[in-house]
């Protein structure tokens, strides 16, 4: 329709850059003694966001009108695609996903600027300026390295290449935007942090402002990461959910620092301490989001997720340099004002627990970061090392346990100082629960197929190796016992709170029922009890992760009529069928013209009871006849999943090769996500001050929360709606991983050094921080 649409699009990207620059300048002026300009800056920020929206709509128009002059459109769509997938193509490739990223960032900018109205008057200009620098960076990236509106040199083609069928599935619609929401959300806390440092308003006000934004980002980082696990589990077909792929690792790094921050900020809200630490955590979280994007985009590390290599990496390196320089420079500049004025008064206090927990989270993050980057780092001295999943699994188990144990213990301590008597009282019930669970597990675990001790091979020679081997084999038992401890702690917290409420209510003469007391308890202390609910979600996830210790994995070849027994399941192979064409195919399968599907039908019987059928399959897409995809078929329950994959099917004899897995407790991870979301939303529920109480403000808050919850639940329900597609079997992660024997991996591993580095960092950090606190304590008591 429009001859000049590509040029208009490029022009709009220029306009975004100019608008961001204009807003940046006006915001700076407003911050430097001309407060009346603030309104102009605010409107400038809105303008920039509206321009990004306009650019996205233009690209959408190019997609729906099949404007194949534009290279990006020609590369990622064709005329047969439905409108829904045309919209998915917006973030299916490098250039478009940068524009999409900018759109999400603009959403945050708009929400933040609107929310700031009338608040944080002195911080506002610099918040806006910082956000504009980030928007400007993405505009520059698009202009100079990845312009989504760039035209093909060869001119328009009659039809596009189409979106890779592997990307045409529900996960591609929902997984990246969720993770981006989490990533982009970390920009707002960073903007506040820079602003507080510049304006010297380093008191508590900005900390309070930032916490909710960080919590929101944390929520979406959690959802995005767990959705990634679901995708890997249901789509990749190797039987697991987390392969320690560099991009997966990059996505979970900010989660660790964000979790650390939402804890340590609570200390700063009450006491003037840990300021440098909090500032550091915010800057680090933001840096890690950009670093994660860089890993995905620049293709410096081989990964299943990596986009094609391009010059874009250089720009990210510059930007990361700017972030590092700015953050460190500002921190050093304001160091005298950031110095702690308070101190941890006792080791047996919640503050001390939070600090320890922070170090554990940071230790875990450092370990994953160093291990992920190790192949690249080792190139510096000419070695070519690969770091595989066994390495991560071996070390992350113990590190995770430390975090898990600290998570359970922290709520038992009060702020400032906890007396010996109250510690004893608080620990009694959880410890009894933990011991009881350990004993029960030892007695009955083996009977149900979940023994507390699982034999492990010794990976390293010497004492450290033996130690790791022993810890590794005891890990399932310890985790389950700690899970019981954690649940008992949370239940105890709720019981104590409800009891206290009811006692007070009784004294007042207005008796409260247990349900009402519980509701009011949570309502009055949403942050605290929302946090406990999040902990419950994490416990559920840990239980799910532990399940992998009891996995049963088998491979076999069968002809129709054969039986196979795995765990408690009896599988009978009844034959294969090709759809469309076979009379047993469903009407939907018969009507599919995009692909040919070959199903293997297996009858499942468990303990003499017929449970139905599973149908693992191979799909052959017309667009990709050489790469048949593998379709997983599962039978799920809270106890365990039966996970079946078909390898090859001989069309004549119908002889087929299968992979069967029994994965215990995996469903608890997804349940954990739902609990975590409930808890985070409880914490996030807007607090209404008496100043704005009115029916309307409740309606607004209620509507906001309802919409947020609905959205989050919708995202979480996505797997049940997924209509699957697959990666070709010859390229999926599982094959690559199982293709390497443990022995080969062992040889290539950089030895114990890397794992020890993580632990050493963790231990050193804890010792240094405790020593410092001690010194401060001693000093303050002398004073």
């Amino acid at each position: 329709m429009w001859q000049s649409l590509p040029e208009l699009g490029t022009g709009i990207v220029y306009a975004i850059l100019i608008a961001a620059a204009y807003t940046f300048a006006v915001a700076l002026a407003a911050g430097r003694g001309r407060p009346r300009l603030l309104q102009a800056a605010r409107l400038g920020a809105y303008t920039t966001s509206a321009l990004v929206l306009f650019a996205v709509l233009l690209l959408t128009y190019a997609f729906v009108s099949h404007d194949f002059r534009i290279r990006y459109v020609a590369h990622y769509s064709d005329r047969r695609m439905s409108t829904a997938y045309l919209l998915t193509s917006l973030w299916g490739g490098q250039d478009g996903s940068l524009l999409w990223w900018s759109l999400l960032l603009s959403g945050y900018v708009t929400a933040c600027v609107a929310w700031l109205k009338g608040r944080y008057r002195e911080l506002q200009p610099y918040v806006i300026a910082t956000l504009m620098v980030i928007v400007g960076f993405f505009a520059m990236l698009m202009l100079f390295a990845a312009n989504p509106f760039e035209t093909s040199i060869a001119g328009a083609r009659p039809d596009g290449e189409g979106l890779n069928p592997l990307l045409q599935n529900y996960w591609m619609i929902i997984h990246p935007p969720c993770l981006y929401m989490g990533f982009v959300g970390c920009s707002v806390p960073f903007a506040f942090c820079v602003s507080a440092l510049v304006t010297r308003r380093l008191d508590n006000e900005w900390v309070v402002a930032v916490r909710k934004w960080m919590l929101f980002a944390f929520l979406f980082l959690s959802i995005g990461n767990i959705l990634g696990m679901m995708w890997a589990y249901e789509e990749l077909g190797w039987g697991g959910f987390w392969a320690w792929d560099p991009v997966e690792n990059a996505a979970c790094l900010p989660w660790f620092t964000a979790s650390a921050y939402v804890h340590s900020t609570m200390i700063q809200e009450r006491r003037p301490m840990l300021r440098v630490w909090n500032v550091f955590l915010i800057c680090l979280t933001f840096f890690l989001t950009i670093f994660g994007t860089f890993l995905t985009r620049a293709g410096i590390i081989t990964s299943v997720h990596a986009f094609a290599q391009s010059s874009i990496g250089t720009y990210f390196v510059y930007f990361m340099g700017v972030i590092l320089g700015t953050s460190l420079g500002l921190m050093v500049w304001r160091l005298p004002e950031l110095k702690s004025k308070g101190q941890i008064e006792a080791v047996a206090s919640r503050e001390a627990m939070f600090v320890a927990n922070n170090w554990a989270l940071l230790g875990g993050m450092t370990f994953i970061l160093v291990s992920t980057m190790y192949p690249k780092i080792s190139e510096l001295w000419g070695e070519s090392a690969t770091v595989g999943p066994p390495h991560f699994n071996r070390w992350m188990g113990p590190i995770g346990l430390i975090i898990f144990a600290l998570m359970g213990m922290a709520p038992l301590f009060g702020w400032r100082k906890t007396s010996e008597a109250s510690i004893k009282k608080a620990f009694r019930a959880p410890l009894i629960a933990m011991l009881a669970m350990a004993v029960l597990h030892a007695i009955f675990g083996g009977y149900f197929g979940y023994p507390p001790l699982v034999a492990r091979d010794a990976f390293y020679p010497g004492l450290v190796g033996t130690l790791i081997q022993k810890t590794g084999s005891a890990l399932p038992g310890i985790t389950i016992a700690l899970a019981a401890f954690n649940v008992a702690v949370i239940v105890q917290e709720f019981v104590r709170g409800v009891k206290a409420r009811r006692t007070v209510a009784d004294k007042r003469g207005e008796a409260e029922s247990i349900g009402l007391a519980l509701f009011r308890l949570i309502e009055k202390n949403r942050r605290r009890y929302g946090g406990y609910i999040v902990h419950l979600g994490i416990v559920s996830m840990f239980v799910g992760f532990t399940g992998t210790a009891w996995n049963i994995d088998r491979e076999t070849a069968m002809v129709p009529g054969d039986h196979y027994r795995i765990g408690e399941y009896d599988l009978t192979y009844e034959g294969s069928r090709r759809c469309p064409g076979n009379s047993k195919c469903s009407p939907e399968e018969q009507a599919d013209i995009e692909k040919m599907m070959i199903f293997a039908d297996l009858k499942v019987v468990r303990a003499g009871k017929a449970l139905g059928y599973v149908h693992p399959a191979k799909f052959i897409y017309q667009a990709q006849p050489d790469g048949p995809t593998t379709e997983v078929s599962m039978m799920r329950s809270l106890r365990e999943d039966l996970y079946t994959v078909v390898g090859q099917i001989d069309p004549q004899s119908k002889r087929a090769t299968f992979q069967f897995h029994v994965n215990p407790l995996v469903s608890w991870i997804w349940v954990g996500l739902l609990i975590l979301m409930t808890g985070t939303i409880t914490s996030l529920f807007p607090e209404l001050s008496f100043g704005e109480v009115g029916a309307w403000s409740y309606v607004r808050a209620g509507a906001g929360v309802a919409a947020g919850t609905a959205f989050a639940v919708w995202i979480a329900m996505a797997p049940s709606m997924a209509f699957a597609h697959e990666r070709p079997a010859n390229s999926h992660v599982g094959t690559q991983m199982t293709g390497l024997s443990e022995a080969t991996l062992q040889r290539r591993l950089p030895g114990t050094g890397l794992g020890l580095a993580g632990f050493a960092g963790l231990a050193l950090g804890s010792v240094v921080s405790v020593a410092r606190r001690r010194r401060d304590n001693a000093k303050s008591s002398r004073d």
């Binding site: 309104q39 409107l43 233009l58 128009y61 002195e122 400032r416 008597a421 202390n525």
Partner: protein
């Protein structure tokens, strides 16, 4: 922004109009025109926002009440006061669930109360100048409006008395927010309210439950 006297278009009207047009056009001519209509709406929004921004930059737009109000930002003391009050709230909560012993509770409670009192006094001192300024301005305006200066003085006196009366009450209200701190065992040397029998801190001037002046009660009682 949209509240200018010439065109009083409700803020929700343009987006709603764009959406309606997009839906109608979409039903008639397909998805392409939906996107195009939305894009047109976005472009209009860009122009309108930019126009307003430049106007604000040139100083031609008036300062709205909210903006003027927000110019007086909260001071650091105000934030510190909130943090201290929050810490007190937590302390009371922790005592109610038995996480902190009585001795520790009293020690910390006294420390935080002293800090809160100091901060409130600082805040009052900071505000004194502003308050006088407001009162003078009020008198001047009332006098200009034809009211008698004596009446104006009376009004301002009353206003001052009100604020003085309200300040401690507000602080008390905030402390009671957790809802589970009322009805504690009395602090050593605490005061009992004669009106409602509630226990109060030894330095309290008003009852935290009903607001009755406490010092008067103590002094007045035989």
């Amino acid at each position: 922004m949209t509240d200018s006297p010439r065109m009083r278009v409700p803020r929700w009207a343009p987006p709603l109009l764009t959406l309606t047009v997009a839906i109608v056009v979409g039903n008639l001519y397909g998805v392409q025109l939906v996107v195009l209509t939305l894009a047109a709406g976005a472009l209009l929004l860009v122009i309108w926002l930019l126009w307003n921004s430049v106007q604000a930059l040139a100083g031609e737009s008036e300062l709205t009440f909210e903006e003027a109000f927000s110019l007086g930002a909260r001071s650091a003391e105000e934030e510190q006061k909130r943090a201290v009050l929050r810490a007190l709230k937590d302390l009371e909560y922790e005592r109610s669930v038995g996480k902190i012993g009585e001795d520790d509770f009293h020690e910390y409670s006294a420390r935080y109360r002293a800090e809160a009192k100091r901060l409130m006094q600082t805040l009052d001192e900071n505000l004194a100048e502003g308050r006088q300024q407001v009162e003078r301005e009020l008198e001047r305006r009332l006098a200009r409006a034809g009211a008698k200066s004596a009446e104006a003085l009376e009004a301002s006196d009353e206003a001052e008395a009100n604020t003085a009366r309200l300040a401690p009450l507000e602080a008390g209200a905030e402390l009671e927010e957790p809802g589970i701190n009322a009805g504690h065992s009395p602090a050593p040397g605490g005061l009992q309210c004669s009106a409602c029998q509630a226990k109060n801190e030894p330095d309290a001037r008003f009852c935290k439950a009903c607001g009755t002046p406490l010092l008067a009660t103590v002094e007045g009682s035989p």
